[in-house]
Amino acid sequence: MTFKTLLATAVLASASLTAIHADELKGRGASFPGPLYKAWTSEYFAATGKKINYTPTGSGDGVKSIKKRMVDFAGSDKPLKAKKLKKSKLYMFPSVVGSIVLSYNIDGVKDGELKLSRAAIDAIFSGKATHWDDKIITKDNAGLNLPHEPITTCVRADKSGTTFNFTYFLNKINPEVKISKKPTWKAAKVVAGKSNSGVSANIQQIKNSIGYIEYSFKIKLGLPAAQIENKEGKFINPTVQSFQDGAKYATWTADNDFYAVIGDPEGATSYPIVAATFILLPTEKTDKNKEVTAFMQWAFTKGDKAASELGYVPLPTSTKDEIRKYWEAKKIK
């Protein structure tokens, strides 16, 4: 008798536990918006009691997981072209704009002091410049004492949407650079880390290194970042205002599921390496999609403050309206 009651209790308990977890929305993908999604999901839980679980495992993993329907939604910094969306039966829309900064670890050079021209950035990441005191770097940094030390470039070890957006920018400077989530880097000394946090850790630990990371990681860890020359030849410090100036040139339309890569915009005050990040949804899961769009609707209306505090740029109102119309058209609102 006691064994039967024990068994019954165990079955009931596990059933109720699985029922609770079945309600939780699961998402995976880009680590670029990771800190922001973490803030949004915890505020959403406080406001509505609905739990959403987002694991930043990289854009490549996000796309793979949603293709296999292992998660309810995926995050990807690299937008998918219409052909691929059709083949995998996915919907896509942007969630927020962020930026990529070049952080470095050089003794005596503080945050914002290093100025990198477009030519210098290309030289560093393609191996043409091998030491910090190469002329192509020092000619813009007359006031700094750059050491005669080899440059260590910190890159991503995994398939990364952040890398995709950074190589998009490099490609605008030097068309020979391949735009890729995981290119073969031709720089002299390369060290790779897993995810934005791995690259940040490497930059922190390795002297005379430079790497590309999302802006909120720079803020969180207090890493110095370089001024970067934009399309109009001005050196821009990575600040939220400069990201907003760069993001306002972005154009998204629902006709192609908002496919757009917004890097290297015009504008004298625009920070050049801005990027949007996207949410992918499976077309056939209408009910789950409605829950995801409910969360995104909340984020679009109430999440702007959290986004700005972390250094992201909320989408312009017109784009948010277009996205809402897209949801209605796809019947997932």
């Binding site: 495992t57 990289g58 490549g60 993993d61 793979k64 260590t152 890159v155 070890a157 995994d158 398939k159 890729s180 995981k182 073969t184 880097w185 000394k189 390369v190 060290v191 790779a192 880390g193 897993k194 791995g198 850790a201 490497n202 630990q205 390795i206 002297k207 290194s209």
Partner: protein, 284 residues
């Protein structure tokens, strides 16, 4: 009744282990077929690892991770084996009871520390030290090899110490009675007697070093480049698998199974050779 049950259970466990081994090999071999068909044995000498942009094909080669695994293990073993033997000898023959006890406990605690903690400690504390003493990037083959050695020493030392302690006192006493020095007793009486346990501990440590993933992933640099200098960053098989497995598809995934198969075979061959060579001969 109890004896028969125990005998059946142990027989079951033994055969289960055997079938697990066969099963793992079969799965690795099956999933590696696509890469085997595409690359054949050229895989072992190709130095690139690049997926095509549409994630459907690419060129993959295992030369760099294989060399990385072998070199990091070699560095680790050449540092760890002498040190572990030395620690074991110190604990059993040289140290007084008061010193041996706390040191033994410390060794056993060190052996229990999870490997990812060694990785974090290595990255945040040890890598800058290596960078300032030897140069290079801090993260690279040498740092990974040294931290690997630190990870396997406690385990090797503890088991070697236990093996050496099994030497019957009467053997040691007789040797001393015949005028042997301490060193001669260690070399000619204790070591040959505990050979089995010592080789066993070295083999287990070797297995751990070959397959160690997280600690090495933080410290080896994770880049596909050949090593010209011992401090250069490179990659190893477990590190490549850990970094890329989540996102790989089709041919790349199959190539990773191919690499896993190679690691499996290499470990198996090294361990079998060591076992049969050192322990195959019956002691006189």
């Amino acid at each position: 009744m109890g004896g028969k049950l125990f005998r059946n259970f142990s027989f079951f466990s033994a055969t289960l282990s055997f079938f697990l081994l066969i099963g793992i090999f079969a799965i690795l071999f099956t999933y590696a077929q696509e890469a085997l068909a595409e690359f054949g044995f050229d895989f072992l000498l190709t130095e690139t690892w690049e997926a095509d942009e549409d994630d459907e094909g690419g060129v993959f080669g295992g030369y760099i991770p294989i060399i990385g695994t072998l070199l990091s293990t070699l560095i680790a073993m050449s540092i760890a084996v002498p040190l572990a033997m030395g620690i074991a000898i110190f604990l059993t023959e040289v140290a007084s009871e008061n010193i041996a006890k706390p040191v033994s406990i410390a060794i056993e605690l060190l052996a229990a520390i999870p490997s990812i903690i060694y990785g974090m400690w290595g990255l945040f504390y040890f890598a800058p030290i290596v960078q300032s003493t030897v140069g290079g990037n801090g993260v690279g083959l040498l740092t990974a090899g040294i931290v690997l050695a630190i990870m396997i020493i406690p385990f090797m030392a503890a088991i070697t110490r236990d093996a050496m302690n099994t030497t019957p006192h009467v053997l040691k006493e007789s040797a001393y009675a015949m005028g042997a020095t301490k060193f001669e007793v260690i070399k000619d009486v204790i070591m040959p007697y505990s050979k089995g346990g010592i080789i066993g501990s070295i083999i287990l440590a070797l297995g751990r070093a070959l397959g160690e993933t997280m600690a090495v992933a933080f410290l080896i640099g994770s880049v596909m480049s050949t090593v010209k200098n011992v401090t250069d960053p490179t990659t190893s098989i477990p590190v490549l698998l850990a970094n890329n497995f989540a996102e790989a598809q089709d041919l790349e995934m199959s190539s990773m199974y191919y690499l896993a198969l190679i690691l499996f075979v290499v470990s198996f061959v090294i361990i079998s050779t060591a076992k049969f060579y050192f322990l195959g001969r019956k002691p006189k």
